[in-house]
């Protein structure tokens, strides 16, 4: 038993629903109690879908338990087939139905429905949403994909995008366009937009492009083994990774067509002088493994940030995540407990978080700006505009989204120069954000007011030796004059410096000695 307040992933049947809802002419019958129908709203509200997810829930009640829940399931399956006439039917049990052991797969098999019925085993008490999506897609491929002649021209399948995925809609469009520029046609894109009949002809493609290992790695491996289709390993997030991905596709397809880079802006935007202020910004990354690993490289190599922490909530990616973190000189945080993530962020005191909606809230609480790079999603993660994460346009989007929460270039200098100005004090925040600046109490200088309210940056959770080192009043006030977005770093560095020097008290001098010591 584990106490959870907020969770990064839903149960596995929600993952299976993401696959079913992304597809067309497929229906799913879920053996589940009525309350589990809440899952529909994820798709209709968060993703603003204009159709109900193609899912029939049996909605058994307590009084059915002793009686005939199996009968209920069969009625629901028969009705669903009659009403929706799908090309194939997925059947599964939610956490409650798993306990009553009706075996939906076995029941459906006895019914002799005239379409393929694909049973899913979703161990609700062990696995989670991403597993459910990955497993559902694997079973669909196993049941439906037939051995077929390869197409004459070089084609590939794009696999991984699902309903309710983080920017899947736009990534799919971007990568489809990129491949077409390279002369590689897309045979089938799945699950998103595919029918069961499309799954059946996946074997025609020469190779697979795997966009999201979270939802389609098992299928990619199975297709490689059974259908001899190699798959791409590089996730094209960021300019460098997109270029490497292009090379990988060239090797698989033999394409020699040039790719137009003229609309890629990230490299110049990052190199231009206004971006100098991004240098060494300390960022903490958390989310699903794929997005975090890709974003970490972009953060370090293409934005010039310093990565001070990274991790993921899906254990399936723990191994590559740990390896990459090690390369960055860090220890990966692998957890699905958001309280652990909050504690780690507080400890690392980054200047920015690249995370999920959970980290956005953590950031709000700690006063640290955050940009969202990964699921779990929120209605804000489905913008009306085209906004991919992948490919060259995706790289441009990354630049804009990551810079947006920060105080902009020259504004940072103005903040330092005019730090006692009433509009530039800590709580005012970046000027391009809507929130109203809190006026300072009249008669107080910014520094004093900030000192009184304790500043916007909370003290680090575990200062090096909190008991032995004391900030003197003057030093504490001086610290408050430092802009809030670097104050956390200044505090940590000063304490570390004082600790190393064996000092018990921090004075204004200590603060500036530390500053000189750590200056780069």
């Amino acid at each position: 038993m584990k106490l959870a307040v907020w969770t990064y992933e839903g149960p596995p049947h929600v993952g299976a629903m993401r696959v079913a809802t992304g597809m067309r002419d497929l229906h799913m019958v879920l053996h589940a109690p009525q309350g589990d129908t809440y899952a529909d709203l994820l798709f209709t509200m968060i993703e603003r879908r204009d159709h109900r997810p193609p899912v029939s829930y049996t909605t058994f009640q307590a009084r059915d338990l002793g009686a005939d829940t199996a009968g209920l399931f069969m009625t629901a399956a028969r009705d669903a087939h009659a009403r929706f006439a799908p090309q194939a039917l997925l059947v599964a049990a939610s956490c409650t139905a798993e306990l009553i052991q009706d075996d939906p797969g076995g029941l459906a098999e006895t019914m002799g429905l005239p379409v393929p019925v694909i049973p899913l085993e979703l161990p609700s008490y062990q696995r989670k949403e991403n597993f459910g999506a990955d497993e559902a897609f694997l079973q669909l491929c196993r049941a439906l994909a037939r051995p077929m002649e390869r197409t004459e021209r070089v084609t590939c399948n794009i696999i991984g995008p699902t309903a309710l995925g983080f920017r899947h809609r736009d990534d799919l469009a971007e990568i489809t366009g990129l491949l077409s520029e390279m002369g590689v046609e897309v045979n089938v894109a799945a699950p998103m937009g595919a029918t069961p009949a499309d799954i059946a002809r996946m074997g025609q493609a020469h190779f697979n492009v795997l966009l999201y290992p979270e939802t389609a790695e098992s299928a990619a491996r199975w297709l490689e083994k059974e259908h001899g289709q190699p798959f791409t390993r590089i996730i094209p997030i960021g300019a460098n990774a997109t270029r490497a991905f292009i090379e990988e596709v060239r090797a698989l397809s033999g394409s020699t067509l040039p790719v137009d880079e003229s609309r890629l802006r990230l490299p110049w935007w990052a190199a231009s002088v206004d971006s100098t202020y991004l240098t060494g910004k300390r960022v903490f990354l958390f989310g699903d493994g794929t997005h975090v690993m890709a974003a970490a490289k972009v953060a370090r190599d293409e934005m010039g940030f310093e990565v001070c922490g990274m991790g993921c909530y899906n254990r399936e990616q723990a191994r590559p995540m740990r390896a990459l973190a090690k390369e960055f000189g860090l220890t990966a945080l692998i957890t699905d407990d958001y309280l652990d993530v909050e504690a780690a962020i507080e400890e690392a005191a980054p200047e920015m978080i690249l995370g999920t909606q959970m980290e956005r809230h953590i950031g709000k609480r700690l006063g640290i700006p955050c940009a969202v790079i990964s699921a779990p999603v929120h209605v804000q993660d489905f913008p009306a505009r085209y906004s991919p994460q992948m490919g060259f346009e995706g790289a441009n989007v990354l630049f804009d989204t990551w810079v947006h929460p920060l105080v902009m270039g020259l504004e940072e200098h103005l903040l330092v120069m005019f730090r006692e100005d009433f509009e530039f004090h800590d709580a005012a925040g970046p000027s391009h954000h809507g929130a109203k600046a809190q006026p300072l109490p009249t008669g107080a200088t910014a520094a004093h007011a900030a000192a009184d309210e304790g500043g916007s940056m909370p003290p680090p959770a575990a200062p090096p030796s909190p008991d032995s080192i004391v900030w003197l009043g003057c030093a504490e006030r001086e610290l408050k004059k430092i802009p809030f977005f670097v104050r956390g770093k200044a505090r940590r560095n000063t304490e570390k410096f004082a600790g190393e020097k064996g000092l018990r008290e921090i004075t204004v001098d200590t603060l500036y000695e530390a500053k000189a010591h750590y200056a780069r």
Partner: protein, 430 residues
């Protein structure tokens, strides 16, 4: 206020349906109950699904650390009962240590905990002994196999009744979790009328708990409190039958019924409520201009459907096509059904696909439904109002009556405004 000389819809045969239901389970009530009871923590003993439902219904994370959580059962808990109980005790101890502000802890049963027959009432007794007197531990079921949406609040309040102290005093108990601002308004009106003392269930904090006994008279402010009603009767308390306090009419009738029970005549009530009632009527009239003559269809969600249909048909000039409720408590709803003119289909339970067929066939101007159905219906050119907003928003008594009407008017006004650009232009313009 004239009550029409008719038995209204009381004799209308009820269409009973049993099929796929598209409705939340009782766990959802935790979202508003934990805000109301400021020293209570709601610990769901359930699965990842239950945790995900709470998070999704709450609209992701509203509060950094809310006073609810889910003890997620894992494979090893399902293996042996002794383990699950020990694990629960450990999680509770850890929780109470971290949250010294908690005075009441509700262990909330879910489908999984009920199917594996984890006995939460025994667990609550055991934990009460360990953590008394600081914390009182109660239990109820919010599971989807036992409860529908608002029935979770009913089960919660019913679980509190046996634990309330006894009294011989003649007091009014106002039953139902209302937002504080609404509760204060109601208490002020009752005081001006001369009814008192008044207690509330649930109270804001454990130490404010009401005492009950044979002289307690109680009035329900919510129509879904059937089990709480039965539990109060078992303690000898007596219910004041009345329509529910929605709209100017409902509020007036509710206050008059309460006043009569306390020996106060309708004239006194009329005098006290004249000003707020006039304000309410004026505010309703503003929204009613939009609602007048429009046809409304209620899908079954909150059990508020019948009282709200009464309000919309009698005070806002709407016509009801179908009024559907997950469960129709005949005794509690009788005063409401008497007021609704014959005509609409009254249905109980659901077969969602068949019901959607009826929605499409009758093409109402406004459909009240759950969040899962709203956008799909809008995309078909049918305006909707989310049922969950009716339980999350202050809608009772006079000062909120205009807001209540406006909740229904807003989707219609919005469609009208967007007429020229709506993706479903044809239907929108018809």
């Amino acid at each position: 206020m004239s009550i029409q000389p008719t038995s209204g819809c009381t004799d209308t045969p009820v269409l009973r349906e049993r099929g796929q239901r598209e409705v939340f389970c009782g766990l959802t009530g935790i979202i508003w109950l934990h805000r109301k009871m400021q020293d209570a923590f709601f610990l769901v003993v359930g699965s990842r699904t239950c945790a995900h439902l709470l998070q999704s219904a709450a609209g992701v994370m509203i509060f950094a650390e809310p006073r609810f959580g889910t003890a997620i059962l894992e494979e090893k808990d399902l293996a042996g009962m002794a383990d699950a109980n020990a694990e629960l005790d450990r999680e509770v101890a850890r929780l109470l240590e971290r949250r010294p502000d908690i005075r009441q802890l509700f262990l909330v049963g879910s489908c999984p905990s009920e199917v594996i027959k984890l006995d939460l009432s025994r667990a609550a007794e055991r934990l009460s002994e360990v953590h008394a007197p600081r914390v009182r531990v109660l239990n109820y079921s919010g599971s989807g196999i036992e409860t529908t949406f608002t029935e979770g609040e009913d089960a919660c309040l019913a679980s509190m009744v046996p634990a309330l102290p006894g009294t011989e005093a003649r007091e009014l108990l106002m039953v139902g979790a209302l937002p504080d601002v609404v509760e204060d308004q109601a208490l002020a009106l009752l005081e001006q009328i001369g009814v008192g003392p008044v207690r509330c269930l649930p109270a804001k904090r454990a130490e404010l708990d009401a005492a009950i006994g044979p002289n307690t008279r109680y009035a329900l402010t919510q129509p879904f409190l059937g089990d709480t009603h039965a539990a109060l009767q078992r303690r000898g308390a007596q219910r004041i039958a009345a329509p529910f306090p929605f709209g100017a009419e409902g509020t007036t009738l509710w206050l008059k019924a309460v006043a009569a029970e306390f020996g106060i005549g309708p004239d006194k009530v009329d005098a006290v409520v004249a000003a707020p009632r006039a304000r309410a009527e004026k505010a309703i009239a503003a929204a009613a201009a939009t609602l007048q003559g429009k046809r409304v269809f209620f899908m079954p969600d909150s059990q508020l459907e019948i009282p709200l249909a009464r309000f919309l048909t009698r005070e806002c000039g709407m016509q009801a096509v179908e009024i559907s409720t997950p469960f129709l408590h005949a005794e509690l709803h009788r005063p409401e059904l008497e007021l609704i003119a014959r005509g609409p289909t009254i249905s109980e339970g659901q077969d969602v696909d068949l019901q959607l067929d009826r929605v499409r066939a009758t093409r109402p101007d406004l459909t009240i439904c759950g969040l899962g159905l709203a956008n799909p219906l809008e995309a078909e050119g049918l305006a909707t109002k989310w049922a969950i907003e009716l339980v999350f928003t202050p809608v009772h008594f006079y000062e909120q009556a205009g807001d209540l009407a406006a909740l229904f008017a807003r989707p219609l006004r919005r469609r009208e405004i967007l007429r020229s650009s709506h993706p479903n232009r044809m239907e929108a313009a018809e």
